[in-house]
């Protein structure tokens, strides 16, 4: 798995370090570093928890997301 952290965006909160069940990340000089990327199983919990949206996974399998209500999203897009 190719995991990238946007060093400029990362605020060093360590939430991804705590949340990742596979201990993929470590904080090094207040920035998250994916030290064990091959242990990642692609759950994307880290994406959901990162307040800075600093994470990027490449080569991941994206699960089906039929739950997204397109109509609601379209409406939201008009106001946000």
């Amino acid at each position: 798995m190719d995991i990238r952290v946007d060093k400029d965006a990362c605020v060093g909160c360590g939430l991804c370090v705590k949340d990742c069940p596979m201990h993929v990340y470590e904080l090094q000089e207040k920035v998250s570093v994916p030290v064990r990327p091959n242990n990642c199983m692609g759950c994307l919990s880290c994406h959901e928890i990162c307040p800075a949206q600093a994470l990027e996974h490449r080569g991941i399998y994206a699960a089906k997301r039929h739950y997204i209500d397109i109509k609601v999203c379209e409406m939201l897009r008009k106001v946000v």
Partner: protein, 187 residues
């Protein structure tokens, strides 16, 4: 109710289609793309049923849904080929779940084999990628790992038991928005 409204309703349910009996339908109607509203309705309904079950039965809800799932797993897998090897059983299982769930056998970097022996337990990690339960829960803003997940658990355990003739157990290791890690413990 005005006559105009009634006419409008009749109009909506009228077509010039010639409908003949068909023995083996080869496509579903309406087309899957047009079923989005139906899908959302089903997800919403399932979510509400589970939420109510939890409110009334509390922690007992998990036992009910697990049992229902297990029965379903046994029932469906009855018609599948029996095999003793776990690898073959998982293969059968992925065929069984196709379209609703997809999973792969997974191992952490430091493990040599997919069948792991640790603290007197023999288990296999399964990563569930596509999952209709996860989608339903997210559609309804419900937590993962609750009673609806237990139906899937029961289903997998029931099917594995039926195919291999061995007792099995499934544990949640982690739930995420894109995939969930589970541990299939073999007895």
């Amino acid at each position: 109710m005005s006559a105009g409204y009634i006419d409008e309703l009749h109009e909506a349910f009228h077509s010039d289609l010639v409908y003949r009996p068909e023995e083996i339908p080869l496509e579903c109607s309406p087309r899957p793309k047009e079923m989005e509203q139906t899908l959302h309705g089903v997800m919403k309904l399932n979510g509400l049923v589970i939420r109510s079950l939890e409110e009334i039965a509390g922690r007992g809800a998990n036992a009910v849904t697990y049992r229902a799932g297990k029965k379903f797993g046994h029932e469906v897998a009855k018609y599948f080929q029996k095999r003793e090897d776990v690898e073959g059983a998982l293969h059968e299982l992925s065929d069984l779940l196709r379209g609703q769930y997809s999973f792969e056998v997974w191992k952490p970097e430091d493990k040599e084999t997919f069948i792991i022996e640790e603290n007197g337990e023999t288990f296999i990690y399964l990563v569930f990628h596509d999952c209709i339960v996860r989608q339903t829960l997210r559609r309804n803003g419900l937590d993962q790992g609750g009673p609806l997940c237990q139906t899937l658990f029961g289903y997998v355990v029931g099917a594995i038991e039926e195919i291999t003739g061995r007792k099995a157990k499934l544990e949640i290791v982690h739930t995420g928005p894109n995939a969930c890690l589970k541990k299939l413990v073999l007895k």
